[in-house]
Symmetry: C2
Subunit: 190 residues, 2 copies
DNA sequence: AAAATTCTTAGACGCATGTCCATATTTATA
DNA sequence: TATAAATATGGACATGCGTCTAAGAATTTT
């Protein structure tokens, strides 16, 4: 990570991230991320190559920053205030609702970026870690038979899997069914 | 994938895979996979670069073939003959036992190849997919409230997570505790 | 407004990648 | 054994990567 976009950005940095982010996702609807070159992104966004490397280590670093930018749209600041037994559902529902607005874009991108490629890897990883960190940073009074970090990881895995099942694969599972499945898989755990 | 090592290999192919595999893992104990070059592997293994590309697309493709070679040591051909309710435990136990023999090597490699790097990504992915395919190809009479593929994926995720917890992270969880945790996380599901 | 600081920009550098081809060597077939 | 097919080898190629430096532009500080 070359530039920290989580702290407040200068106007310049903001424009740069937005431009490259837009251009990257345009490119992703046309080809796989493995075939996207830095030169190409810079030409489309009208930046010199040096500027790209001022901000990002490589294309995958840029992609990570994009996830971060996208994720900041899904507001979950109030997570700790939700009763513990409703948190999992709430978390999943918000992700589901948000992603529903991007079905078409996701489908286009997935045409060129298969499930076992680096694009999907990166997305999977981001969702998993994001949910893990949300859970792990919202301590919960409930007692579990295993370390809390392990629980959080398990939830991260499972929610990520269900989202992937609903949006990346074409299984057409509606929200209610997905929620049921999620709770079934998580068994008695709340 | 350039060469299919799953079908019977010529003596040449066998030697080539073994040499490169050995040299790759030697290199992994000294540096991260991101810094390993094809040229370097070829020099250490005394092969011309062209030969490498005859067999592998790149270093990560070689790594995948290594996993395959390693996994063939963990015999699970009899998996379908195990009673359904014991399968998960059996699968996990064999992996656990096998990996126990490589604690030292794993530790050395992990010094240079962090959890969020491509090495760990590749290992994670392989284990997940391997377990998924074992389960999915061993039909089971039990009825589940969700598609069987989803169940298999869930099991793959969870077993992979527990193995990672026990071997890649240094949580020192003994086999019995890990098995208990596994069943706890999988809840009522068998 | 001037000076200092920070960031952008352009170009060049060395190195690694993955492909290709022509030749040599091995393996299989007749 | 001779011939055919397949594979290994060596070298060259264009292209991308990531770094670096020096000069220019924008921003902040004085």
């Amino acid at each position: 990570m070359k530039h920290d976009f989580s702290k407040r950005m200068t106007r310049f940095a903001q424009r740069t991230l937005e431009d490259f982010s837009r251009v990257l996702f345009e490119a992703l609807t046309e080809t796989s991320i493995e075939n996207i070159t830095v030169r190409e992104l810079c030409e489309k966004a009208n930046y010199p190559r040096a500027t790209f490397y001022n901000y990002f280590d490589d294309v995958y670093d840029l992609l990570n920053d994009c996830w971060q930018k996208i994720a900041s749209d899904i507001v979950i600041d109030d997570y700790p205030s939700i009763p513990a037994e409703e948190r999992t559902s709430a978390l999943f529902e918000r992700c589901y609702t948000y992603l529903s607005g991007y079905r078409a874009a996701i489908e286009k991108i997935m045409k060129h970026n298969p499930m076992d490629g680096r694009f999907a890897e990166s997305l999977r990883k981001y969702i998993r870690e994001q949910i893990y960190s949300i859970i792990v940073n919202s301590p919960c009074s409930e007692k579990y038979a295993v370390p809390y970090e392990l629980m959080a990881e398990h939830y991260g895995n499972t929610i990520q899997m269900m989202l992937e099942w609903c949006f990346i694969r074409r299984e057409q599972m509606p929200k209610e069914a997905a929620l049921e499945a999620l709770h079934y898989l998580l068994g008695g755990l709340s």
